[in-house]
């Protein structure tokens, strides 16, 4: 089972889409004058996508995004209505560890962004070779290289915030590719003083393996096509996963003083494996600030290709979420976490598990559910262990 990922402009839909011979289905991103408005999934039959089916699927798309963008486009909104001045320059930070091919692809896309004076920064986290350094070096002055030897994605993120030269720092994963308008779309949402972070829409770069399709189906980064503002008044800060993901986010540097740095006991490179950005989002909301989800800030993520890596990812998510909740419960007295955990199990994991055991179609594969639940159970101890390790490392000065 493979899915072709297509990117089509609504006003220039091709009359026929062919050449998709070894694909079973197509995931199509629809844009209106370059702005993402919808995604549709269609079967591919004999290597072709039926045009009528495509149009029908587009017209039946739920949500206001397509119509709102049509209207704003008609009213020439961006040229006439948006207030001046344009946002200031930003730093784009990529935290990476031993992924030379990915980082190369990522940087190529970043260098193709329109030049608004942004700084490109690579934080090389605990590298085992100097491949990344060489690759970054090949770009000369255009990309800045910083090495961070303490392991941990959140450690790297904090380093990025500290060394960035601009007020806004946009993060992108090393296995993601930025769309042309990605940075501008993120930056324009910082015009409200209470917005501390902006997240964007992430589509899959490819869906060539079953593992990638499963990831997209059950753990997609896509949060829809409607622009949204998250704040604690209307959204529970403890379920900050709905806000977005670290693969596509931008923060103000002042978050370091106003909210605090990323928790270095969390995320990849530590026993907790994930949850690093979720915890930060949660803290931003708890402090009374806002996070904007901007669907125009589009990037493309290459999901893990193998089933084993996918299982590991789901395990990592389980650990990460429970690690974040452990932190909230024990150190911020958020007692409602217990209720949340119970609800999540009861309303999500348990039905999924039962569906899978009874072999009902359309459910998440058993191995993934089990991996996530195992991760959840390991979460609290993983967090405490991670904190101990961090304290020990800080004490010995390493």
């Amino acid at each position: 089972m493979t899915t072709a990922v297509l990117d089509l402009e609504l006003e220039k839909l091709p009359p026929a889409i062919t050449g998709l011979d070894h694909y079973n289905s197509a995931l199509v991103l629809i844009r209106l004058r370059g702005r993402p408005v919808a995604r549709v999934e269609l079967p591919v039959i004999d290597g072709r996508v039926n045009h009528t089916e495509l149009c029908d699927a587009i017209v039946s798309v739920k949500g206001w995004s397509l119509w709102e963008k049509t209207l704003r486009d008609y009213l020439n909104w961006d040229e006439v209505v948006v207030p001046e001045p344009p946002p200031a320059a930003a730093t784009v930070a990529v935290c990476t560890r031993d992924r030379p091919e990915d980082i190369k692809r990522c940087l190529e896309a970043l260098l193709a962004l329109p030049d608004d004076g942004q700084e490109l920064l690579v934080i090389d986290n605990c590298p085992s070779t100097d491949d990344t350094q060489k690759i970054v070096g090949s770009y000369g002055e255009r990309v800045r290289y910083v090495r961070e030897d303490r392991p941990g994605l959140n450690v790297a993120r904090n380093r990025a915030l500290q060394v960035a030269r601009h007020e806004i720092v946009a993060f992108i994963d090393d296995d993601a590719v930025a769309d042309f308008n990605w940075l501008r779309a993120l930056l324009r949402n910082f015009d409200h003083s209470l917005v501390m972070a902006v997240t964007g829409l992430t589509m899959p770069l490819e869906l060539e393996t079953e593992a990638q399709e499963l990831f997209e189906r059950y753990s997609t980064f896509c949060r829809g096509f409607e622009w949204k503002v998250f704040e604690q008044k209307r959204h529970n800060p403890l379920t900050a996963g709905q806000v977005g993901a670290g693969v596509n986010m931008a923060l103000r540097r002042s978050v370091l003083e106003l909210v605090g740095p990323f928790d270095e006991a969390l995320d990849a490179g530590t026993p907790t494996q994930a949850g690093g950005e979720t915890e930060m989002f949660s803290r931003i909301m708890t402090a009374g600030y806002r996070i904007v989800y901007e669907p125009d800030a589009l990037n493309w993520h290459r999901h893990r290709r193998t089933r084993e890596a996918l299982r590991q990812t789901f395990y990592g998510y389980g650990v990460g979420i429970y690690a974040v909740w452990t932190q909230k419960l024990l150190f911020e007295k958020e007692f409602s976490v217990l209720l949340l955990a119970l609800n999540w199990f009861y309303l999500y994991h348990l039905p999924m598990l039962l569906r899978s055991l009874v072999r009902l179609p359309g459910g998440m594969p058993l191995d993934l559910i089990v991996a996530e639940i195992r991760g959840c159970l390991a979460g609290p101890s993983a967090y405490l262990r991670s904190r101990r390790q961090l304290r020990a490392a800080t004490a010995t000065g390493s």
């Binding site: 009213l75 909104w77 207030p83 409200h192 003083s193 007692f335």
Partner: protein, 421 residues
């Protein structure tokens, strides 16, 4: 021709805030505007601390005067400052503000681009102590208010008249009759109404920035809501056409059961109501400790409504009186025909220019011959301008406009560029 820079008078009404006044004055020493063109008038109240003496003893590069008006409220102090001021432009600044260096210059520049302007500055709150749920709410309210005013399509209302940091030409201020002095609060809104009626145009200047050291507490806010209830009744008597837009209208029509119970208590059992309110208030701190955000929110909103009704009930003793009060507005204008008819299908830019030229209060909007809808006359709101058109079309008239665009034969022609898509 070099334009002569005007003399500016900064009027600071104050009461018992010696340290804050010293801070403001030191900030005013660091302004980018020429100091010889600035005069500052501090108007103090009853002698509780030694603000007046402190001010008299200061060495500053601008003209500085202090007046002691022991029995006056803030409105009277501001009026007194205005009568003593010699400047062409008056800047009113509250005593808990900390102006940035470009503050005066920004106000003056804003006046140069328009004649009868009322310039509202930007004053985001800063908190010295712990930032809890209440401070978060307060900050959000202020920042949202300023954010809305910054949008180019914002249609100013009398509620945008914020007296903590605003400037106006001395002439215009005297012409409209200065502040009313019999209001416990909302005197700024009341001034805003008269300014709008006089045809003044409101303008928000982000660069005219002062940090607002907001020391409001929950108790003070609830007291304030009570005063607002009383003040709204006065506003309704002085400007009856505004009764439909007063908060009590919405609160009367759209209230959930808990709010309706609190309202009943405010009118019929005020003693019990106060006891219930105090109980709820004491529970709010517990909610915060337990991180029960939703519950805290509900308590907070509910109590604001309760104290507001308590204020209203002081002037209008029963709900029947409130109903009668609200019913006696000036509804006749609703039936008048719109002042202008615009077709936005042909040329949107031309429609905007027409609006800027005529500044109507009500319009009928059409698109290629189809009526989309009407913007009817509203009181206490500035007349329509060109910049209001597109936001209106994207919001209020979105659905009919989309239908018209998508279903009409000339839909492909976009009005700006006359391009066929």
């Amino acid at each position: 021709m070099e334009r002569v820079l005007p003399v500016v008078s900064i009027i600071i009404p104050t009461h018992n805030r010696c340290a804050q006044v010293r801070t403001i004055l030191s900030r005013l020493c660091r302004q980018t505007y020429p100091q010889e063109l600035v005069e500052v008038l501090v108007v103090t109240g009853e002698r509780v601390d030694n603000t007046a003496d402190m001010v008299r003893g200061l060495e500053v590069p601008f003209a500085l005067q202090v007046f002691e008006k022991p029995s006056d409220g803030p409105a009277e102090k501001r009026n007194h400052g205005a009568t003593k001021a010699s400047g062409e432009i008056l800047i009113f600044l509250d005593d808990d503000m900390e102006p940035e260096p470009q503050f005066v210059e920004a106000h003056v520049t804003a006046h140069q681009s328009g004649h009868d302007r009322v310039v509202i500055g930007y004053f985001p709150p800063v908190f010295t102590g712990h930032v809890g749920f209440f401070e978060i709410e307060l900050r959000a309210w202020w920042e949202d208010t300023f954010y809305a005013m910054r949008q180019p399509g914002h249609r100013f209302t009398f509620r945008d008249m914020l007296s903590g940091n605003f400037s106006i030409r001395a002439e215009l201020f005297a012409l409209v009759g200065r502040f009313e002095t019999n209001y416990p609060c909302r005197d700024d809104y009341e001034l805003g109404i008269r300014l709008l009626k006089a045809g003044a145009s409101f303008f928000h200047c982000e660069r005219a920035k002062a940090y607002h050291r907001d020391m409001t507490t929950v108790e003070r806010l609830f007291r304030r809501k009570y005063e607002e209830g009383r003040a709204d009744v006065l506003l309704g008597y002085q400007h009856p056409e505004l009764r439909p837009v007063l908060p009590m209208r919405t609160l009367l029509d759209y209230s959930l059961l808990p709010s309706r119970i609190l309202r009943w208590l405010a009118f019929h059992r005020p003693v019990m109501g106060s006891a219930v309110a105090r109980l709820i208030r004491s529970n709010m701190d517990l909610c915060q400790k337990l991180r029960l955000r939703g519950v805290w929110q509900k308590f907070f909103q509910g109590l604001q409504v309760y104290y507001y009704w308590q204020g209203v009930a002081e002037k209008l003793n029963t709900l029947a009186e409130v109903e009668e009060f609200l019913a006696n507005d000036v509804a006749g204008d609703m039936l008048q025909a719109p002042e202008l008819v615009l077709d936005v299908g042909r040329d949107l830019r031309k429609a905007e220019l027409l609006l800027d030229k005529h500044r109507p209060h009500s319009i009928c909007i059409m698109h290629n011959g189809t009526v989309l809808g009407i913007v009817s006359r509203q009181w206490g709101v500035e007349p329509l301008r060109g910049a209001h058109l597109r936001p209106l079309l994207a919001a209020t008239f979105a659905k009919p406009l989309l239908e018209s665009i998508l279903l009409s034969p000339s839909a492909a022609v976009r009005p700006e560029t006359q391009q066929v898509a």
